[in-house]
């Protein structure tokens, strides 16, 4: 994919850049009689204080909570949007994964920023997985992950377990596409956090229902070889 130069000047949150005062334009200035109609208040996207979310301190919304119902509707729309543009289950999971990925990239940055001076760059696999299961999970869902396991037969695979993913609370997947797990979105977030910490990995979400937890989901984390090589080197360097 090649990067394309932006075709329009980037003016955040301005529905009609030409109407912004002070924006230089090549057209002749309008006469006073032809004043542009005043922008109605409905089209303004700023709050009355003219302060957007970007003006706030990054630490201020730390303990903020948002409505689960509105998230459920938004997430539902995201799934329906993605579903219209894909041909199969794997495609759909990939789309959700990509949507989560861009969130994870920003989230890692934000969480490390908020940790302040105590923030440290994880270099060991266990360290980064703990960071995800504790810090990232607490921030996203207000609870730690329900389990962290290492695969029995494969060294490069780890499993992060969630008994009831918040994103799947209201979702029932139809029988004909029962392989789909919409927590692929969360898997994308985890993947981005791992990638951003230089632990390149593939993360996928799998449903493993039990009687007690019908929505139980396992995030399968498969690290790249380079990660394991480095891990072996770091482990060997210790007495």
């Amino acid at each position: 994919m090649s990067l394309q130069p932006p075709t329009s000047p980037f003016v955040p949150f301005s529905p009609n850049p030409a109407l912004q005062p002070g924006t230089p334009s090549s057209t002749t200035p309008l006469s006073i009689a032809q004043k542009p109609p005043p922008v109605s208040s409905a089209s303004l996207r700023y709050a009355s204080t003219r302060r957007s979310i970007y003006d706030r301190n990054l630490n201020r919304t730390q303990r903020a909570e948002l409505s689960k119902a509105s998230f459920a509707f938004l997430f539902g729309e995201m799934i329906q949007y993605a579903q219209k543009r894909v041909s199969g289950i794997q495609d759909l999971e990939k789309k959700l994964n990509i949507q989560g990925y861009s969130i994870g990239q920003r989230l890692l940055e934000l969480l490390l920023f908020r940790e302040g001076r105590s923030a440290k760059r994880e270099t060991r696999i266990l360290g980064i997985l703990q960071f995800i299961a504790q810090t990232v999970y607490r921030h996203l869902f207000n609870k730690p992950a329900d389990g962290l396991e290492r695969s029995h037969d494969k060294d490069d695979e780890y499993m992060l377990i969630d008994h009831e993913p918040v994103v799947n609370t209201y979702i029932s997947v139809p029988k004909e596409i029962s392989l789909l797990n919409c927590a692929a979105f969360v898997a994308g977030i985890i993947e981005a956090v791992l990638d951003g910490s230089l632990f390149p990995a593939r993360v996928t979400a799998h449903s493993t229902p039990t009687d007690q937890y019908p929505g139980r989901t396992v995030y399968l984390i498969k690290f790249e070889e380079s990660v394991l090589e480095r891990e072996a080197m770091l482990a060997g360097g210790k007495p």
Partner: protein, 135 residues
């Protein structure tokens, strides 16, 4: 509490959900259930028109020797029919709770098509847990 059966009708009078919660009920074929739902929809419309009181919402309760049927109509025209034992108390609370479960597990499910039969496993599960708690 003893709830015998729950039915949900869409705003056109089509049956979109039916489930029994009690043993030993008279078994109807799915076609009969559809006819029952359509008939009730018509009766409900008639009762709201012939009511002597202005602005009546239509039939709400139907009582018989063996059961009591409560109809709860939402603002959008979806109807919840709850069949319970004759002296079941707080049936309006049960109606609201079933409506709440419907709003959560059916309407927030991205795979549910509106006005179509409800096939949501999470809705089934939670409705069962609410109406038929394990003894």
């Amino acid at each position: 509490m003893v709830i015998l059966s729950v039915m949900i009708l869409n705003k056109a009078g089509g049956l979109i959900y039916q489930r029994d919660f009690h043993e030993g009920l008279h078994k109807l074929s799915s076609n009969d259930f559809l006819v029952l739902a359509g008939t009730f929809h018509g009766v409900h419309a008639i009762t709201s028109r012939i009511s002597p009181v202005h602005g009546s919402g239509g039939l709400e309760v139907l009582e018989s020797e063996n059961f009591r049927m409560q109809c709860f109509q939402t603002l959008t025209g979806t109807k919840f029919l709850i069949f319970a034992e004759p002296h079941q108390p707080n049936i309006d609370v049960i109606c609201r709770r079933v409506y709440e479960l419907y709003a959560d597990y059916v309407m927030k499910n991205p795979f549910y098509q509106i006005e179509m039969p409800i096939r949501c496993e999470a809705f089934d599960r939670h409705l069962m847990a609410y109406l038929k708690p394990k003894q």
